[in-house]
Symmetry: C2
Subunit: 208 residues, 2 copies
């Protein structure tokens, strides 16, 4: 059966300028949603921050939830991109320590405001936006995968025992990071992430 372009109109095409505007909107929305929460971030404020008008915002996004999905993509790229830098060469406890330092430095640079961008989005949207929840589950899955591959590399390099359960360990370590960031965000104090990631690493050291 032929696909009608009335039912499925061609996706809109954007010029370079348009894409730049779209990007400004997503960046502004990401920043305000992280700083004040998804619901507290008003489209009006996002327009001001991105220096666009209402018509521009709706030219690039169907509605607020479409914008939220774009923010999830953007934060996923930002967070996973940052972690990938270190995780792709995770082959030793020294590299693992660098990763820990990156996490701690990253939250301290915001005075613990916002917590983990992905964690905050997940908690705020899991019960109200099924598409967003699914998207964030995928983001976490990819994050966990990077960790798992790193642990397998360490294992293959003889830094970890051959019988470790990399799948389960990577999930647990990600949980430590997320929980530590949530507590740090609530306490406004980086001690929590620091302690919880250090515990995870200390446990890994018992598996050498």
């Amino acid at each position: 059966m032929a696909v009608s372009n009335l039912e499925y109109p061609a996706v809109r095409t954007f010029t370079a300028k348009g894409l730049a505007t779209r990007e400004r909107i997503v960046v502004a929305a990401s920043s305000l949603m992280l700083e004040h929460g998804v619901d507290a971030a008003k489209l009006e404020d996002i327009q001001a921050e991105a220096r666009v008008s209402a018509s521009q915002l709706y030219h690039y996004f169907e509605d607020k939830s479409a914008l939220i999905l774009a923010v999830i993509d953007h934060q996923t790229d930002a967070v996973l991109g940052m972690h990938r830098q270190i995780l792709v060469r995770l082959d030793s406890f020294t590299a693992l320590q660098e990763w820990r330092d990156l996490i701690v430095a990253s939250i301290e640079s915001n005075q613990c405001v916002g917590g983990c961008p992905l964690g905050s989005l997940a908690s705020g949207l899991a019960e109200s936006d099924p598409l967003a929840r699914a998207a964030l589950a995928k983001s976490f899955a990819e994050w966990q995968r990077m960790l798992r591959v790193g642990l397998e590399t360490m294992r293959d390099h003889g830094e970890l025992r051959a019988d470790i359960d990399a799948e389960s360990l990577s999930l647990s370590i990600l949980a430590s990071v997320q929980g530590g960031l949530l507590l740090s965000q609530t306490r406004r104090d980086s001690d929590a992430v620091r302690a919880s990631v250090d515990m995870a690493i200390a446990y890994l050291k018992t598996l050498r």
Copy 2:
């Protein structure tokens, strides 16, 4: 300087019937906020669930944020009350395992919806309601304290080494619980809490 009762009017007194109505409202609000998120829980729905009118809601609470603070108190009592049951007699790895089972059973009973009531409230309110953030930080502190006392008891019973850092360990374990619950909520799958709490316990076992 005498305190004027104009500036500081006497706190309102409630009858037993009034307190019961207030309680119905808090319970309904807690349930809807957990199920749909704080912002998505409309006062109108809370009224229907609690079978009260708008005037009743505003008779007992100044505004929505006052209700939110009451919900935090309520959930703190509920969650810490449940955990206290087990944590006060935390003196062995057997008891620790019971605690783990309690956490897993608790989230599974909701099909992983809502995650941890305190964690969800913290994440949703940390950046928009300073009073709520502070209240939740206190709740977490008390939760951590119960855990710390339990670890100290285990240590005193010879189940853990004498040189453990109970403060840091209790914080890390709480982070594992919170992170595990957040991931489980997002994934709709209790594997994450299970793995992360099990890792924390496995680490403790290396400290015997």
